[in-house]
Symmetry: C2
């Protein structure tokens, strides 16, 4: 009976994965607004009503895709940070697991990576994921899907990238200090609340500067992914790396 349950459960995850894979393909072709259970079923050789055993509604399928996308971009950010730290300790990249080439920016040196190198490595990984998965990126950082409101289940995955970036700041703050730009008068209250919510151990001025950098980071990525660089920026990756480094600098990561 256990084996039967196991087999059924296995079949279920496999079919669920197949549905999500096909749905992702359609996301690319038609966009989130037109994601259709029927079309997914058709492509999978199933009948539409069968899908309702896996996802109770179209919106639930969409939620699953959104959570997956946030998790994927968050995992990419986490892996990049692990890589840059590991790459600095050993000359060679740890084979296997990561599936991410170590950032060239941190190659060579055997010491601890600088806070800015860590920051930039994470930013680059986030951009790389976005460029490699433009439609999933659009799903989570583009226009809201009309008529869909994100359930509570999406908020934790949605914050993974920010938490990685905050970890970089926190480490730098502890080890060598950070020099964020001064806090403007009118932002006192907002800054205190922000710091209390996001990172009680960081100075409020740094919390504000972080939120700023966080928005601007995704602004750079979105403009590239959404096509606003056409005819303007040609070497997008070089441009981005430079911009990310400047964001880190402006945050107060001096080194």
């Amino acid at each position: 009976m256990n084996t039967v349950r196991g087999a059924r459960a296995r079949a279920r995850v496999e079919v669920t994965a197949a549905i999500k894979d096909e749905a992702r393909k359609q996301l690319a072709a038609e966009g989130a607004a037109k994601l259709s259970l029927r079309a997914v079923a058709r492509e999978l050789g199933m009948v539409s009503s069968a899908l309702y055993r896996y996802f109770p509604s179209r919106d639930d399928l969409l939620t699953a895709l959104i959570v997956d996308a946030y998790d994927a971009i968050g995992a990419a950010a986490e892996a990049a940070l692990a890589d840059v730290d590991a790459g600095a300790r050993a000359g060679a990249a740890p084979a296997g697991a990561g599936a991410k080439a170590p950032s060239p920016a941190c190659a060579g040196a055997g010491g601890t990576p600088t806070p800015r190198a860590r920051w930039t490595a994470v930013c680059r990984a986030v951009r790389a994921w976005a460029v490699a998965h433009p439609h999933e990126y659009a799903l989570i950082y583009g226009s809201p899907v009309p008529g869909y409101s994100a359930p509570q289940a999406t908020v934790a995955p949605a914050s993974r990238v920010a938490h990685v970036l905050l970890a970089v700041l926190r480490d730098a703050h502890r080890s060598e200090g950070v020099a964020p730009p001064p806090l403007a008068e009118g932002l006192r209250a907002e800054a205190d609340r922000l710091a209390a919510d996001l990172a009680p151990d960081l100075p409020p001025a740094l919390a504000v500067a972080f939120v700023n950098a966080w928005c601007q980071l995704f602004g750079l990525i979105s403009f590239e992914v959404f096509g606003h660089f056409a005819g303007v920026v040609e070497e997008a990756e070089t441009f981005f790396t430079h911009s990310a480094d400047r964001l880190g600098r402006e945050l107060g990561l001096l080194r």
Copy 2:
């Protein structure tokens, strides 16, 4: 015959405007991907085939909405710059035309507004338009509409905001100089091309810094409009104003 032609032409623009207005409403309710000629016609008490006399296809209607949106946000930027300049000369706002309240940031002083005040005024106007028209904003700065590719006719309107911001930089560069951040090694080529394309009279380092600031400006706006500030930033306008001012500062607008 002239009067007849005139009357017909007038009716035509009126109906065209009504169609676009209704389409904008539906944009808000259903999103660009689901914009439907039939639904527009239904709401207008017309029959769907009649719309084809005004817009040859759904995509043409979409193009018209996109051009209108770019023009509207561009006009808001231009008006804001005119206002801040006019407001600095006269104590009171010029009545009528602008339909935009003069930015409080520039009230009082009778002299020429500083470059940073001009920059920030334009940024604030762009944000204000976006917040007031979130769905039209999403249409032009959000996820690309699947299956739709923007025709050549959209590129000129799309650049109006950037041109206003560049005008602010150009004026500052001429009158009192600008101190952009130094240009990184690897960006030489990109910077030269960028400067040649966007503003041959500005230093390449400034052109790069400008593109940076331009992306980041829309990153701030997009995060607010697309709901990523929920539970994070509460006083979005104050936060934005501060951020825009910092962007100007980092561009090298010292004053």
